[in-house]
């Protein structure tokens, strides 16, 4: 891909972020935003930008970048253009963890992300164990099926958990399950950003393995990849990235599906460029989706996951038709 296209990707992200800081129930001018970021301007604008929208945009960037990279890595490794973190049960696991925390009445700010982490990690472990028991090795198709099964089980578990819960709890849990970056807080953002950075860098480091695994297991093995180990590693890193995003923003679907496809349409073919561009495109899309979520029916706010799904579902159907 040419330098121009990379510049365009960065430019698009910058524009989305600027819109994310300026637009909302209270519309600000770009001048207000810049002044607020530099520490000046009137106190109301400064408070809106620095205390509310900046954290929100940052969480949207982390969420989009994480989901985009996770999808790109999973699609290559599983040799499946329909693969994305949500298909692999990670979201389900994370949601179970979070809903469990909400239902148990745990209110500490740190509890929800941690619970989601634990749930996602448990789901990943389950998927890997099921796949290993079923096929004796890391067969991508079995992994995908195991992911679907774990996801379905997680859904059922959530229904059971919510059945006896109070109205307020159900409302909170549902809101979170529909995805949102409105609750962004600096305290948890720092850790999410660090996790996402480390996992993302680790994925970029194994990008060549992803390129070779995309040829098929035997071809990859012939080119020096330790297939089972590499598959497991990529799967866990992708799951970790997805868990970070779920912990921060709840269930934001279809980003991991749409983003790598856009990156490929832009001419990214090899995994390293695909991963990095997917991070940029994903961040841009989720920041933009969040702008839509908070302006489309202001002052009411749409769930972020609903906005991404409204875009993602038609896209999924078109892709499904092309794949069939």
């Amino acid at each position: 891909m040419t330098t121009t296209r990379w510049l365009l990707l960065w430019g698009a992200l910058a524009v989305a972020c600027a819109a994310g800081l300026a637009l909302g129930p209270v519309a600000l001018s770009l001048g207000d935003v810049v002044r607020a970021l530099l520490g000046g301007g009137d106190s109301q604008a400064a408070s809106i930008v620095r205390d509310l929208r900046l954290a929100r945009v940052c969480l949207a960037v982390i969420t989009g970048a994480g989901l985009g990279m996770s999808g790109a890595a999973l699609q290559g490794t599983l040799r499946n253009t329909l693969a994305e973190p949500y298909l692999l049960g990670v979201s389900g696991g994370a949601a179970v963890g979070a809903v469990l925390a909400v239902v148990a009445g745990v209110t500490a700010a740190v509890a929800l992300p941690v619970a989601a982490f634990v749930g996602a990690a448990t789901a990943v472990g389950l998927v890997l164990v099921i796949a290993r028991v079923a096929s004796g090795r890391a067969d991508p198709r079995i992994l995908l099926m195991a992911g679907v099964v774990v996801g379905a089980f997680a859904n059922a578990a959530i229904m059971v958990l919510l059945a006896g819960a109070g109205e307020n709890t159900v409302r909170n849990a549902l809101w979170w399950m529909m995805g949102s970056v409105s609750a962004a807080e600096w305290a948890s953002l720092r850790w999410l950003a660090l996790d996402a950075l480390v996992a993302g860098a680790a994925l970029v480091a194994v990008a060549r393995d992803i390129d070779l695994l995309a040829l098929g297991e035997d071809a990859a093995a012939g080119l020096g990849v330790r297939v089972a180990t590499a598959t497991r590693r990529i799967f866990l890193l992708s799951a970790l990235l997805a868990a970070v995003t779920v912990a921060g923003a709840g269930l934001v679907g279809f980003v991991g599906l749409v983003v790598p496809a856009i990156a490929r349409a832009l001419g990214m073919r090899r995994a390293r460029g695909l991963l990095v561009s997917s991070a940029l495109i994903g961040a841009t899309l989720v920041v933009a989706a969040d702008v839509v979520a908070r302006t489309a029916r202001a002052p009411a706010e749409l769930p972020l996951g609903a906005v991404t799904a409204l875009v993602g579902v038609p896209f999924f159907l078109v892709r499904l038709r092309r794949a069939a």
Binding site: G136, G222, L223, G224, R269
Partner: protein, 259 residues
Amino acid sequence: MIRVHDAVVRYPGARVNALDGATFDAPPGCITAVVGPNGSGKSTIVRALIGQVPLASGALQVGAFDVASADRRTLARTLAVVTQREEPVFPLTVREYVMLGRYPHHGAWSALGPADATLADAAAARAGASDLMARRTDELSGGEWQRVRLARALAQGGDVLVLDEPGTFLDVAHEMAAFELLDALARDGRTVLLVSHQLNLVARFASRIVLLHRGRVAASGPPADVMRGDVLEPVYEWPLVVSRDPAVGAPVLVPLRRT
């Protein structure tokens, strides 16, 4: 040089060994063909060579490396494998695809450089794929794809080539071209091991044929020693005769009708 010594492989859950003490050598400078009925263990040898199935006992040696203990990436610089099937889900340009053969020579962060590009070009030229470099892998015909895959294997730079059914999906002309290329590559001093169903074809190109039967070597040696009715008939469990082709003088297997 490939050395298979008393190799035993059993797939999980299987009742019999896929390889049951097979022993043979594939020397450098010639084509060695592994033949045998379905399920005789041909493809298992290829999968064992690339570390996709472990040996229960015995040893596999490629050049100076013991396959079981060698680092996979180091081994891939000596041993290149063209597997039976490979359908990239995500198309690459042919140049990008051939360059994948240079990956085993690099760590995670070292960049592929002009030297790799030169080697990839040379590999493509050797495999007759130079004019395809700007194409995309999903636009190639069967014959072109096979040449491109061979170019990628040559770009790995090793001197041991293993091919699983290299003639599959190829018409007569492309098949002959592929085998002539393999013959030329072997004459350069490479070890060429190919797994094939096509006994008549390998009998014309291979210097040695290894006949597998239920995971064991039923016969091995020059084509004249293996391409015999009394050797092949009990292995394939089908009545057949071996005659001599009047035009090229090679042994020709003709399966007979039972009715």
